[in-house]
């Protein structure tokens, strides 16, 4: 059963044909058809491994369809479709080709049954996606893209190193559940961790996503990090370390997001925080927790894309996504506002919205397993999510102080893309069964809408909202100021260059001093030789031949004397 048209191949063919198609509706329609076609071809196949072959002694499997890869492929296909629809107006071949290659690589990686093909697609996502940042075509985006690429490729190289070590240790490159211990597994774990934006490895995300093009950020938000979540769920389920990493991940971005002015960067911090919930679920590793992770990734891709799309639409019309410059846009962009609020309520996990039905699984799993402090951290982080994504984003964009923007509503295709994402958010929130039936692991029927869940969640959220209202009223809420905030990227953007610069200067000085010293000695040596052997030196004098004859006679006389006396 090897004769299957692989999804990445279809994305690849789509990408190759784009440059030859005339700009316009035909090209855009073809692009929209790619994710639909790619998923339709494999969506109904029975579970199993396809496209299996041996290459150079390695057992390669390009298409492993099981419940876990199937649902990730589904959500990646939906995300690709939505972001391509959102980018209907973009007439830039670079972005169109790379968007397809990027989505295709991500789906290819999800289906990879071995570490070698995983590595190929893993690097594929890195290389294709950087063009979505460079496509902004400014000096700043070029440099940001370079930083992004270095870190992404670093993750790929670690994965390759881990794969090679794994092959040496076990003789197999199959990509299955692993336990941390050997160097190989640690390499792979950290490779996944870089892409998943673990604490201290996270800053590429907040640095690069706001620097991409308006449509590029929407695409970026869906794939790279969720691919890492998939890889962790596949490779390291039940690894306890992940619980603590995840808990830290949910908490620390909250503080950065609260004072960040660039709203697309606020969303990037919020993305980081949401990944934390998924990582905790993987760490707990029970079927309920893993299903929670998958469900949360599914819902998260949709509402995060929705939020990025609404901020993108605002940026498309106004040229900025900074809270200090925006405000009062409810007058000009009411539909975008409604979609943004739907996204905000979904991410904040209000009952009847998608975040509620997915996050509940992870919270219940952490409580069921007795992780009290982890559960408390997640509850606290939920309040944080409400703060930066639930309230700050819509409030400072569409309400707050009217900054005088009088712009058009977002274009129809953007509204359509946002509408589809919003429909998913509400649909899944109201009918959680629609999503639960596709969750990969067997668990007891889970009911998210119990009185306790709904009431306690509403109490938590509405009282936090009350705190916001009071802080705004008494002017205690941090003002939106045009500024940048330092994060770990400062280490490699400022501190390391300074240290390297210091050592470079020091080595330069030593080199110069050593040079001068050498020059001094060489010069005095030459002077000495010159003094003796130079034109006026005693050894370079012209001697008359008479004196030589005299000296020969003297030596001869001495020899005769010594011989006979």
């Amino acid at each position: 059963m090897n004769e299957v048209l692989l999804p990445p191949l279809i994305y690849g063919l789509g990408a190759i044909s784009i440059p030859f198609l005339p700009a316009g509706k035909l090209r855009q329609a073809l692009m929209l058809a790619v994710p639909v076609l790619a998923f339709a071809l494999i969506g109904n196949l029975p579970y199993g491994d396809y496209a299996v072959f041996n290459a150079a002694g390695l057992h390669i499997g390009l298409l492993r369809i099981d419940a876990l890869s199937w649902i990730f492929a589904l959500i990646f296909s939906i995300a690709a479709f939505i972001s391509l629809l959102y980018a209907w107006h973009v007439d830039d071949r670079v972005q169109q080709v790379t968007t397809l290659l990027y989505a295709g690589s991500a789906i290819g990686a999800v289906f990879a049954a071995d570490l070698v093909s995983l590595f190929v697609f893993w690097e594929g996502t890195a290389i294709a996606s950087v063009f979505l940042i460079w496509a902004r075509r400014t000096e700043g985006s070029y440099r940001t893209g370079m930083r992004y690429l270095v870190i992404q490729v670093f993750s790929g190289v670690l994965l390759l190193a881990g794969t090679v070590l794994m092959y040496r240790d076990t003789g197999s490159v199959a990509f299955n559940a692993m336990t941390l211990g050997s160097t190989a597994t640690w390499c792979i774990f950290i490779a996944f961790g870089v892409k998943c934006a673990f604490p201290l490895l996270h800053n590429w995300l907040q640095d690069s996503y706001p620097a991409a093009t308006i449509t590029g950020t929407v695409t970026l938000s869906a794939f790279t990090t969720k691919l890492a979540v998939y890889a962790l769920a596949r490779g390291f389920p039940g690894t306890e370390l992940l619980i603590y990493i995840g808990a830290v991940m949910t908490l620390f971005p909250v503080f950065f997001a609260a004072i960040e002015n660039n709203l697309r960067r606020v969303l990037a911090y919020s993305l980081n925080n949401q990944l934390g919930f998924m990582v905790v679920g993987i760490g707990i590793g029970t079927p309920l927790a893993l299903n929670g992770t998958v469900a949360h990734a599914f819902c998260h891709i949709l509402y995060k894309a929705l939020l990025f799309m609404s901020m993108g639409a605002v940026m498309y019309r106004t040229g900025t996504s900074k809270a200090s410059e925006l405000g009062g846009l409810y007058k000009s962009m009411p539909f975008t506002m409604v979609f943004c609020i739907i996204g905000a309520m979904s991410i904040s996990a209000f009952p009847l919205f998608s975040g509620f039905v997915s996050k509940s699984l992870i919270l219940s799993a952490s409580a069921d397993n007795g992780y009290f402090f982890i559960w408390l951290a997640l509850i606290t982080a939920s309040v944080g999510v409400l703060e930066h994504s639930g309230i700050k984003i819509p409030y400072f964009t569409f309400f707050a102080h009217d900054n005088g923007w009088r712009v058009k509503e977002a274009p129809v295709h953007m509204l359509l893309a946002m509408g589809i994402a919003a429909a998913f958010c509400v649909g899944i929130g109201v009918f959680p069964g629609l999503l639960y039936q596709y969750l990969p692991y067997k668990m007891e029927a889970y009911v998210p809408y119990t009185t306790t869940h709904v009431v306690t969640q509403l109490q938590l959220l509405i009282f936090a909202g009350l705190a916001f209202a009071l802080l705004i009223r008494y002017r205690l809420y941090p003002a939106e100021i045009r500024a940048v905030n330092l994060d770990t990227d400062w280490i490699y953007r400022r501190m390391l260059p300074i240290i390297v610069g210091f050592f470079a200067a020091m080595i330069g000085t030593i080199w110069k001093a050593a040079g001068q010293l050498t020059q001094y000695y060489v010069t005095s040596l030459i002077r000495g030789i010159y003094a003796t052997h130079g034109p006026h030196g005693p050894l370079a004098r012209t001697w008359p031949s008479g004196s030589m004859v005299l000296w020969v006679a003297v030596i001869l006389g001495m020899t005769v004397l010594l011989t006979y006396v």
Binding site: V90, D91, D92, T138, E139, G140, S141, T144, D207, P210, T213, I214, T215, V254, F255, F256, A258, I259, M315, Y316, R317, T318, G319, T320, Y330, K331, P334, M337, D368, F372, W375, I379, V383, G384, W405, R406, K408, T451, T452, V455, T456, Q459, I462, F463, A464, L466, A467, F468, A469, L470, L471, R473, P478, I481, R482, A483, V484, N485, D487, R493
Partner: protein, 136 residues
Amino acid sequence: MTSHDDISPDDMHWLSRKLLWVEKPGAGKRVLIVLLAICAVLALADFAYHKHAYFHIEEIPFIYAVYGFVSYATVIFLAKGLRLIIRRPEDYYAQDSTEVEDERPAGSDPSTLIPGSLSDRANRPGGISGGGSAHE
């Protein structure tokens, strides 16, 4: 291109018109009163059903309400403290970042386009973001 004052409610979308009350004086107070009322109802709801708690601490009445309020305020005040340490001018990373590339100077008239900015290029045919119009 229109400026701040000359948009009349009639020109707005009906959805926007419905929300115009938010700019009326006293709107903030009214929102607060409504919010307080909702909060009171939610808090009292604790006595109206049996709570299925995972942990004992959840059984304390109003605990979720208090925790939501307190943790929100804590996050904000800690973040304000954090800002004192990590805040830098917007052009701190200057050419290395996109932070100041596409933006107008702070406080300038939003209706003017910055030459070379994203929104400016969006207006040019074949520009980076296609043919959208940034301003009316």
